[in-house]
Symmetry: C2
Subunit: 276 residues, 2 copies
Amino acid sequence: MFDGWCRYFEHDAATTGTKMRFSVYLPPQHEGWQVPVLYWLSGLTCTEENFMIKAGAQRYAAEHGVMLVVPDTSPRNTGIPGEDTRYDMGSGAGFYLNATNEPWSKHYQMYDYVADELPKIIEEQFNARPDAASIFGHSMGGHGALVLSLRNPGKYRSVSAFSPICAPTQVAWGQQAFKNYLGEDTSTWSQYDAVALLEKAENPLPMLVDQGMDDEFLKEGLRVDLLEEVCQRRGHQLNLRMRPKYDHSYYFVASFIGEHISYHAGHLTQGGSEGV
Amino acid sequence: MFDGWCRYFEHDAATTGTKMRFSVYLPPQHEGWQVPVLYWLSGLTCTEENFMIKAGAQRYAAEHGVMLVVPDTSPRNTGIPGEDTRYDMGSGAGFYLNATNEPWSKHYQMYDYVADELPKIIEEQFNARPDAASIFGHSMGGHGALVLSLRNPGKYRSVSAFSPICAPTQVAWGQQAFKNYLGEDTSTWSQYDAVALLEKAENPLPMLVDQGMDDEFLKEGLRVDLLEEVCQRRGHQLNLRMRPKYDHSYYFVASFIGEHISYHAGHLTQGGSEGV
């Protein structure tokens, strides 16, 4: 695509103890040069494929010379009873956390997979710049991107989100998932809640967030109002763009993906890239 | 999307005697102004949805102020025995022709649907410029676009194709489909074969064609070499771009869709648009 390569991979993941899949877009600049990496985290029900097919991101990644990396949203085929029965639990719904509760804890270690295992593979095997990574995502993946950036200062140069689940501990689908993955003790939940983390954060990365105003999940499931409130109160930098008439779909993501990639490229392409 | 609207419709079609579906992208300029129309014809197995999801075309249509119209690739649910059993016959495989053979002839009238019925609806109900239409497509839809433009001089301002089935009467999937749709008398087949039509055409529209060189259907199913040969011999204008390393997929289409839409926009936006 666009003189680069869109490729799909599967590998044995140590963190999850399962096969894991991810997709990459290698921009034309990757031939002979280390390229910066932009991680995309997808939403509920998605695989590593949806973003690559629907977001129209490759054109912008090619323009800016940025590599895209898109993990699947959960382990699959773990044998856990009921893993495929709900759209918001189990397969396609890993919530980018490390489960501590049985039966999920054995495989559902998406936080470690995305924070550590996957970047290591990308840096070692794909000619990626080890000093230049950013992260963004959609819905559950917007939650993941915000949480990963808040808990790993210095790991990412920039963060952004489309329609993120901002406060999973305060909304039904998050509470239901966290209870299953993390157990009844709610004191452990806040480490995976962007609004809760921002309550205590010092100097978090500025956040770029786009939110459709006709998004059917806005009021009950996403709660960007809580994100805005904590950022205003604590003085955190949030560039929140409320988009009239847009919904929760990839049509919305596609409409503004170019602006997000430009934003990240502005941070990622500072500093020299080494020829290899 | 991109400040315009991506919309899906279903209606009772007179030509096919069935419900037919199509999608449109209305660019932001459609509010208050008549916009030119660019018809996209999709390939085998597609519905009206694939292009809208996968091609990344809306961004360019918004930039140029061009409306996109994408019909489904066949009637559906006709009750014809076996209509859903093959990927290259029946549902998803209308081949943009008027079937004359039983049992297909009653419903499979895609040529008339795309050439006449659909444009009438678009012009009457979508604030489209009646004097500015162009057409393009992919694979079976590239065949459709070339055939429709060749048989309807003056109807379209420009035509282009990705990986078109150039000579369906000379390749297996075309012969199989035409035998079923048109009957054993092969003399009627050439009216739906771009290479055969170009043999006799006088002053056809210039053709812009992109073809991936790693396309798995190139040698057996598409035969762009025959298109090139007849155009060279007859002196028809063909801008054929052979693209190394690209395959037959929408990843390929997405990579060059912007160039095609710019090409059509150059023809479509000549002449004044009227405020309404």
